[in-house]
């Protein structure tokens, strides 16, 4: 069903699409990016996850040749972005944080402008733009001025804009920020589709939970340093405690529920949720949901709620992002 993006020969090659070695950027005394080693392969979604101000955007600007590294090197499609920015920018699509469009122009006109800047022939561009608008679900809004678009529509237009040049690499900076949950799902599905087409996707975000589901690999980026990277499941061994939490609610009597849950092998503790007295929090060394459900049913307390509460990412989130999470919650409340 996915319309595959044509991809250049390098896309299939073994060399990583993006590779940085000890990439460093300093602003005076402040080190924004500190000896970053990063590698993103074609067809892969790499999540560069970190709180605001971690240096994600600075890294991206260096990859695009829009900012010069203080030391270290970056290779993008085997090109040095600092020395050859035009060639890099021709093949890398970039969706900036809080992307903007010319409000007085329609969505289609904005995309046309991008096509012209990329030197794409008019006829070829028109067909491609129609197809892209269709893909991001903006066909009906294509001829309305962008100033009438919602935040989510702008973000989807941003994705179409990125794809206009048929990029081999797509770099997305906070693609899901400030849009509603349905919009987030749309955007994530589109990103996933991009990678399936063979593009390398570098996704920078501070919203771990939103983006982790589509990342093949993630790097946890805090204060300019990559503190861990790898596939999601491997991260737990490097960062997590190896324990997971399951929330469960079953009909009383409460003590029987606790007893039944405690007997399941692998469970380390069963406690009442301090925030919700009807809810139990079961901690276990592995994912024991099936066993737990069976045990509760057998004990005569069929659970009406059973959910794995986050995962190792939650652990990471609490450890590194907690301050920012509080901030984000405040901001969300303010917005609501």
């Amino acid at each position: 069903m996915a319309v595959a993006e044509p991809v250049g020969p390098t896309a299939t090659g073994g060399a990583p699409a993006i590779k940085t070695r000890a990439l460093t950027k300093r602003y005076g005394e402040f080190t924004a990016v500190d000896k970053l080693d990063l590698s993103v392969r074609h067809g892969e979604v790499f999540g560069l996850l970190g709180p605001n101000g971690a240096g994600k955007t600075t890294t991206i600007l260096m990859l695009l040749g829009l900012s010069e590294p203080t030391s270290g090197s970056a290779r993008v499609l085997d090109l040095d972005p600092a020395r050859n920015p035009i060639a890099v920018k021709r093949r890398v699509g970039y969706l900036p944080d809080a992307v903007g469009f010319y409000g007085g122009m329609t969505g289609r006109q904005n995309l046309r402008y991008t096509a012209r800047l990329n030197g794409i022939a008019k006829k070829e561009a028109e067909d491609h733009i129609d197809e892209l608008l269709e893909r991001v679900g903006l066909t009906n809004a294509a001829n309305s001025k962008v100033e009438t678009y919602s935040r989510g529509m702008k973000q989807r237009l941003g994705l179409a804009d990125v794809m206009v040049k048929r990029p081999s690499i797509v770099i997305l900076d906070e693609p899901t920020t400030a849009i509603d949950p349905a919009g987030v799902e749309d955007v994530l599905a589109l990103i996933r589709e991009l990678a399936r087409g063979g593009a390398a996707v570098l996704l920078a975000s501070h919203l771990l939970h939103q983006v982790q589901q589509i990342c093949d690999e993630v790097g946890i980026f805090v204060s300019g340093k990559l503190i861990a990277s790898g596939a999601m499941d491997k991260l737990s061994s490097t960062l997590g405690t190896g324990s997971i939490e399951i929330e469960v609610a079953a009909p009383p009597p409460a003590e029987n529920v606790r007893a039944a849950a405690s007997k399941v092998s692998g469970v380390t503790s069963v406690e009442k949720d301090p925030r919700d007295p009807k809810m139990w929090v079961v901690r276990a060394k592995r994912d024991v949901r099936t066993d737990l459900a069976r045990a509760l049913v057998e004990a005569g307390h069929p659970p009406y709620h059973l959910r794995r509460r986050g995962d190792e990412l939650d652990e990471i989130y609490r450890r590194y992002f907690a301050d920012y999470a509080a901030e984000a919650a405040e901001a969300a409340e303010g917005a609501a």
Partner: protein
């Protein structure tokens, strides 16, 4: 004769030089395909427009379809029509006595009949022209920033200076369009009112005047662009540009007068003292763009004006019989040459400042 032809070639060279300055980035962005040949996928066919052209085309389209363009054109056209109507009335009364004078048609643009309070066309241009430049430049870069389009724009395969060059060229083009339209309207009113058609030389003089006007307004465009790079808010940028315009247009003549009196006092009221004072004042007034523009306008549109130099003027007074009563086109060009160079230098300087500050700025706010 030799000196005249030299002056003409020199003018041509400068005009070409200015164009070259704008074309340079194009050459810059045409080179990369050579580098990009190593890149396996290159969607850009040979001979595609350079980045600054694409940006200029878009900006120009934005300008001419904007409300500010409409309003400014309307105001300027109304002012011009009023000025020309009044001038034409005066010229008609004057016409019988000056029949045969070749500059009668051009008088429409600068002739102010005695006893009328309507200023001339060139006065309006010198006064309101800067507003045009400021209007097309004050939100050039900070507008892209506040709309969030700048990071997206510079991440396209263009050079960074394409952005500011394209905006400058688009602004100049919009200004040129307004001036050409105004001159056409004024000329048409004049033809109807006076019943005379302009000769070839008069048309050429008008074209040269349009070039001068575009360079003059281009200065304010460059100043406004500079402000739009330096100031994050469009309102601040507009206010600072307008303040700069007011200071240079209104206060510069006063300051120049004071400075000239300090440098060359004219206490004795003797002729050499007066001449020295006047010369100093004139030299100093080269910092005032409106002064440069007004002078070059007068020399271009009024062939009977022969010099701005006091000493030369006094000399001419004695040798009046030896000179023709009006100057030919190339002789007039010779007269405005210093003013023209001054204007070009000011405009280039202002644009260079805007260019450098834009290039040194971080993409991220």
């Amino acid at each position: 004769m030799t000196s005249q032809s030299v002056s003409l070639t020199a003018t041509g060279a400068t005009v070409r030089g200015r164009k070259r300055k704008n074309i340079r980035p194009e050459q810059g962005s045409v080179t990369p395909p050579a580098k990009a040949q190593s890149a396996p996928r290159d969607t850009r066919p040979a001979g595609i427009p350079a980045g600054w052209r694409v940006i200029a085309a878009k900006e120009f389209a934005d300008h001419v379809s904007s409300i500010r363009f409409l309003v400014l054109t309307l105001i300027l056209t109304l002012a011009a029509a009023a000025a020309v109507y009044s001038a034409a009335g005066g010229l008609r009364a004057l016409a019988p006595s000056v029949s045969g004078a070749q500059s009668l048609f051009l008088g429409l643009f600068f002739y102010q009949p005695e006893g009328t309070s309507v200023p001339t066309f060139v006065y309006f241009t010198a006064l309101l022209g800067p507003v045009l430049g400021i209007a097309f430049g004050f939100d050039g870069v900070n507008g892209e920033r506040s709309e969030g389009t700048l990071p997206r724009l510079v991440s396209q395969p263009i050079h960074r200076d394409d952005v500011i060059n394209g905006k400058f060229v688009a602004g100049l083009a919009a200004i040129a369009v307004i001036f050409m339209a105004m001159v056409a309207v004024v000329g048409a009113i004049g033809v109807l009112q006076l019943g005379i058609l302009p000769g070839l030389e008069e048309v050429v003089r008008l074209l040269v005047w349009i070039v001068l006007a575009v360079v003059y307004v281009g200065l304010w465009l460059a100043v406004a662009l500079l402000c739009s790079v330096v100031f994050r808010r469009a309102a601040t940028s507009a206010l600072v540009s307008i303040a700069a315009w007011l200071v240079l247009t209104l206060f510069a003549p006063l300051l120049v007068g004071v400075a000239a009196d300090v440098i060359s006092p004219q206490g004795g009221e003797t002729l050499p003292e007066l001449i020295a004072n006047e010369t100093t004042r004139r030299n100093l007034s080269f910092i005032s763009p409106s002064q440069l523009f007004t002078e070059s306008t007068r020399a271009m549109l009024d062939p009977s004006l022969k010099t701005f130099d006091v000493t030369a003027y006094l000399q001419l007074q004695f040798e009046e019989r030896a000179l023709p009563s009006v100057l030919s086109l190339d002789q007039s060009l010779l007269v405005v040459w210093p003013q023209f160079v001054g204007l070009v230098a000011l405009t280039s300087g202002a644009f260079a400042l805007a260019y450098v500050s834009f290039m040194r700025q971080e993409v991220r706010a």
